[in-house]
Amino acid sequence: MSLMSAMTDKAMEMGIPISVHVDVTYRCNERCEHCYLDHDDKGEMTTQEIKCLFDQLAAVGVFFLTLSGGEVFMRRDFLELVEHARNLQFNVKIKTNGVMIREREARRLRELGAEEIQISIYSHRPEVHDAITKVPGSLKRSLDAVQFLKSRGLKVVVSNVLMKVNRDDQQATHDMVRQLGVNYALDPTVTPMMDGNRNVLDLRVDASALREVFNDASLVGNVEEFCAPPVAVDGDVLEGYSCSAGLNSCYVSPYGDVFPCVQFPLPTGNIRRQKFADIWYQSPQMNEVRSIRVKDLPVCSTCTHAGSCTRCPGLAYMEGSMRGPSTADCEKSFHRTGIPSANMLRKAAAAASVGPLIQIQPMTV
């Protein structure tokens, strides 16, 4: 176990939120097809409110601070917020589309000691990337930002979301990123809108694309290990948790709402009315989330994938129950190993037991 893993485990045991994701705005200068956010400003936190939030996060022990949006540079005070965060000695990661990052911003981010800048790029071809963002010229601007940041010595990660519209470009995009000399991260999961709208899920890739990704050593490392059959489910697995949301990490929206995770829209409190520590330690919703162990999951606790599944309780919550399965993760486990999940078997059995909606029987006389 790495030193870092040991410390995050220790934070989990102690109930310390070692990692917090803050969206500083939902406003954005792109309109990505797969985005799960409503970009209208419904009263985002002021500079002072966000600084006060950071002070509170430092006081309860947060170490890793991810700043995202919307597009973070839509806030004119963004660099001031980063400076405040760094003065509080957070390890700061920033997610951005990079469109507004020029030499000045890159230089300042380096001076402030930001740990990592993650830039969203969906294709090596402008006609595909710009069609997804709906902003002509956005690919060039984002690639320029990568160069500005890299030339300043910052750690850059290009982040891609695998969708039907860019599936065929994935390999060439990865090759382009390699040539830029920066890291690459691919997310094969399109998530529902924060308001529950699931239309965006039509963008998800099919099984063959998932299998292709899971068998690409340049993305997953050791394919044999990554696609290995699930480990045996024992007492340790059942007593464990499927995710760290609410245990050592959480999410704060631009309006001050606190959730267990950016993908888990269960409101637990608001920092405009409550102290962060009160929400973290006393919110009934947060305490319910962190009380759920694998053994408490009616379907997943019986699943052969229980010990190795990436089950997202937030996606499960958006499907209807935070204790239920997350179908997207069931599918990933299946396409990774070829072994169906308990949820898939249950659904197949239910479908087989139900006859067709319209039945015609020959009349016997």
Partner: protein, 109 residues
């Protein structure tokens, strides 16, 4: 660094780091090369006392030896090793004269 020179050694925390105290153990990551360290309670005490003004010898004698049951010679040797290792990564600044806290700060535009 030698034991004799500790009286003339001043140490200050760099600001090119991320740091947090987790239950008495300091977590520190270099913002320059992402090296990650955790400090045990004794090292954490030295880290917190590294104000650039107090000689390392005084930190060891007045803080470490006063708060932990340790032989002064052992404490001095361990402190030297600790300072040498962290200074290699730019996490701790070392000088033979007091260090201005502003000189450890991040540059302004």
């Amino acid at each position: 660094m030698t034991i004799a020179s500790m009286a003339d050694t001043y140490i200050a925390r760099s600001k090119e780091i991320a740091a947090r105290n987790l239950d008495g153990e300091m977590m520190i990551m270099s913002a320059v090369d992402s090296t990650f360290f955790t400090l045990n309670p004794v090292a954490t005490l030295i880290w917190q006392a590294a104000d650039g003004k107090t000689p390392l010898a005084d930190i060891v004698a007045q803080r470490v030896c006063a708060e932990f049951e340790v032989e002064p010679a052992v404490a001095r040797q361990d402190a030297e090793q600790f300072v040498a290792e962290l200074s290699q990564h730019g996490i701790l600044l070392v000088s033979d004269r007091p260090i201005d806290p502003e000189s450890t700060s991040m540059e302004k535009p």
